[in-house]
Amino acid sequence: MKRHLLEAGDLDRVDATLVLDTAAQIEAALTGREVKKLPTLRGRTVVNLFYEDSTRTRISFELAAKRLSADVINFSAKGSSVSKGESLKDTALTLEAMGSDAIVIRHGASGAPHQLASWVRGSVVNAGDGTHEHPTQALLDAYTIRRRLGRLEGVRVAIVGDVLHSRVARSNVVLLHTLGAEVTLIAPPTLLPVGIGSWPAEVSYDLDAVLPKVDVVMMLRVQAERMTASFFPSAREYSRRYGLDARRMAVLGDEAIVMHPGPMNRGMEIAADVADSVRSTIVEQVGNGVSVRMAVLYLLLGGAPS
């Protein structure tokens, strides 16, 4: 594996499979145990550097590092010297001078983790950068699909919604393609990025036509905070054309699952009864996130420094 995990493209099929297998083994080793902690990364320090709000990703990374006995420092831009105007580079160098071995970064600017990786000696893990990538989310989604369906090769995945602003979609398209799944992106034309034709995925504007043929439906959050223009006429119209409700869920195959990276807008892209149905893996995804992030931290920090 490479020293950093900056985008899903950093993982070839062998490495991606290794992460998923390692996560499965860690999960198996920890289930049913009283002491959910491993001594593996004792004495290593992981910094969670969060410039954007996050609940599950930050807590998930924190828990993953703690379960491996690493020391964790949580840094959020609010309440730090960032509000006094300190640059990302200076912040990173400060953290490294204090002895951090890995930095988990979430940043509003696409490419910030790449910049960071060129400045520091330790490992950098991208926990979401702007509208670019969120590789550990794609890994946990792939892990969840593999656990539920038993395979990834040939699995048909529909990713529905705000593809334009979604780093989750970008990472998933790349990783799922690497692992042999077939991805179809479904969105209103205004929410598809320029150059979508070069992505290793099919594109469709018609959710109802695609649903009966897929094994996995991944609903994306409508990212109101990134909506700088009017991409669709009204929430109601979006919901009617691209939202997943009970009626649409009924046309899915027997084994098909419904995923959502969270946080959900219930009633917008996904109906509440769909989110809470047995097909939904939404809560499971959160649990799997910890195992997958433990695997990533172990594989990046567990060996000799290269």
Binding site: M1, D21, Q25, R33, V35, P39, G302, A304
Partner: protein
């Protein structure tokens, strides 16, 4: 990544008593395992029911299964078997590249209050056993923990001693002891190799 067993050994590595330099051949390994099974039955006396054999991967795992099968054959009591991966508990993780993990499998009832016998192929420095003891501590609270090894080659770096030893092999520190088992390497064999001999594949070399 470490841990992938090599393909079945070449014909030069031959099987049977004729193999030159083999310390234990396949029939020897079978006899040794049988004897250890008898010793386990003898020592456990009143409590075979609470016995769990826990193998340390890679080769401790099949060895534990074989021992359990022999104990069952001799005593008629079914024996629980497990494996415990020690990778995440090793004290030498930072000395080489990242290692692939192995499976940890425990019997359904867990190990609380039971007699756990750790099973490994070679006892050398004792560090693997220490890691396994740490792992066990996180998995439950056994009534007692014992250790069974196929080969004890000496040179301990920690105060650890085996309760059941298949064969004591005096070695020099530079030599390596390679255990091959049919399940992982296609043949049952133990041999001592000199440092200058090229190591063939990733066999169970005691570290």
């Amino acid at each position: 990544m470490a841990g992938s067993p090599p393909a079945a050994s070449s014909s030069r590595e031959a099987r049977g008593p004729a193999a030159p330099g083999a310390l234990l051949t396949a029939p020897d390994v079978a006899r040794v395992v049988d004897r250890m099974a008898h010793q386990l039955i003898e020592k456990a006396a009143n409590g075979l029911a609470d016995l769990v054999l826990v193998g340390i991967p890679t080769r401790g795992a099949p060895l534990a299964r074989r021992l359990a099968a022999r104990v069952t054959a001799f005593s008629g009591t079914p024996i629980d078997v497990g494996t415990v991966d020690i990778t995440l508990y090793r004290d030498d993780l930072r000395l080489r590249g990242v290692r692939a993990l192995e499976d940890t499998v425990l019997p359904a009832g867990g190990i609380d209050g039971r007699l756990v016998v750790l099973v490994d192929d070679v006892l050398f420095s004792g560090r693997s056993v220490r890691a396994a003891l740490d792992a066990l501590r996180d998995l439950g609270r056994p009534r007692a923990v014992q250790l069974a090894v196929l080969v004890d080659r000496g040179h301990r770096e920690l105060p650890i001693r085996a309760d059941y030893v298949g064969k004591n092999v005096p070695t020099s520190r530079g030599q390596s002891v390679r255990v091959r088992l049919a399940e992982t390497d296609g043949v049952d064999e133990v041999r001592v190799t000199e440092p200058e001999e090229p190591a063939a594949g990733t066999t169970g070399e005691a570290r």
